[in-house]
Amino acid sequence: MNGNCLDIGTIQAFLDGETRPEEAVKISDHVAECDACTLLLAQAEEESSMVYSVLDRELNTLVPTQRLWTRINDSIAEEKSRTSVWQRLAAFVSTSFMSPSFAGAAGILMVVTLGVVVWNFNSRVSNNEGMALVPTQSGSPTAVPPQANPEEVGPQLANADDKKGGVRFTTTKLPESEVKKLINATYVERGPKKVEAVQARYLPGEESYIRTIDDLEQTVTAQNASMSASSQVSYAKDIAVVDDSIKKMREVVKKNPRNQAARQILYSTYQDKIDLLKASAGRGEMMASLQ
């Protein structure tokens, strides 16, 4: 025996024909020279032939082929009968989509549906873009909510719509020049780029309020000089309260645009500010006419 002697696993692999050809040659060469490995190989061969022949007797007993096949087929038939309605539906859909005509028709239907959804979405966005400015009976502009979304406006505005068909009438009178200016401002066409920029800056439906307030503020600022000191202080105080309220509600709506109650309060506050500005402008006008 020497250091190159074979272990029992290698001998078994050699007997079972599991060694590579070059390895088998090496083993044969070694066995030819080594008595110990020759003896080991001979014992393993004898034992293997005995064991495999005995096992053959046990393992090659009759296998019930026909009975097994019948049992398996019966089980498969039973499994198939248990297939659920959903599985059958899924199988129908999967096989139907293999047909080119069905797949084509389904594709067209999907494209049409997608188109309708996109068109509806776009029209809704354009409705929400902002409240339209509508001239009042006296020529003074006031904010009117879009008809398609009455739920997005304050209760005050919605009530006004119900009573007067969507147009709010006011009795405040403004100077002729201001009226013209405001009317012109109302009907200026806005391009799509401007709309996008405005949408990014304002909340939906907020833009018309802010424009109206801006215009009214300009009027009031012009008249402010003719107002008494006490009136100016009172006006500034009222505006500060309203502005603070607007600021807070705006933050709430920005945080959660789905908060309809907060949005209604915001619009209502805007309307309060408009009313306050109109009242102030009316007072200033009256003072100017008296002077």
Partner: protein
């Protein structure tokens, strides 16, 4: 059903029948080597081929035989555990049956053929040596045995040699007289 789908189903059916014809004996014998009962081995074989039927479309043909044997051995081991639990419950009944000499026709046949001694000797060999020996006897290559039993291929020769030596030793004690 479209022609393509029908053709796919027909192809799978043919492949399944072919797989059964080629491998049911090996599966049955592998299962029987573990459960040591023809009836239970039939149950296991049936379950194995139902699993094959469900996974027919995802199985690679090259690994089919090792997969079948691995499933068979796992199911057989589970069956054996259940059987041991049931036997524990029915211990009194079994004891009485043995004492009264009540044996089935199959048991008598196996007794005459000396198969019980073979099974007893096999039963004394520990896993994975026993499965290696049985699968080698069934004609599986070392690669297939390694894949079936999730073992290292280079160790299979040693396992088979040790299992063979153990079987010879145990069978020599219990079986020589019956041959």
């Amino acid at each position: 059903m479209s022609e393509q789908a029908a053709a796919a189903v027909a192809r799978e059916t043919i492949e399944f029948e072919e797989a059964f014809s080629l491998h049911h004996r090996t599966v049955f014998r592998a299962a029987r080597s573990v459960v040591q009962d023809a009836g239970l081995a039939e149950d296991v074989t049936q379950e194995v081929f139902i699993k094959l039927y469900k996974h027919m479309d995802t199985l690679d043909q090259e690994i089919l035989r090792p997969w079948l044997i691995r499933v068979a051995l796992n199911l057989a081991k589970n069956t054996l555990r259940t059987k041991i639990r049931a036997n524990t419950r029915d211990e009194v009944y079994v004891k009485e049956s043995v004492e009264n000499g009540v044996t089935s026709v199959e048991d008598e046949f196996e007794e005459r053929a000396g198969i019980n001694e073979i099974n007893r000797a096999l039963g004394k060999i520990k896993e994975p040596l026993r499965s290696c020996l049985v699968l080698k006897q069934q004609g599986l290559s070392y690669k297939e045995i390694a894949s079936s039993l999730e073992l290292n291929e280079t160790s299979i020769g040693t396992y088979v040699a040790r299992a063979r030596a153990e079987f010879a030793r145990f069978y020599g004690k219990v079986g020589r007289d019956t041959i």
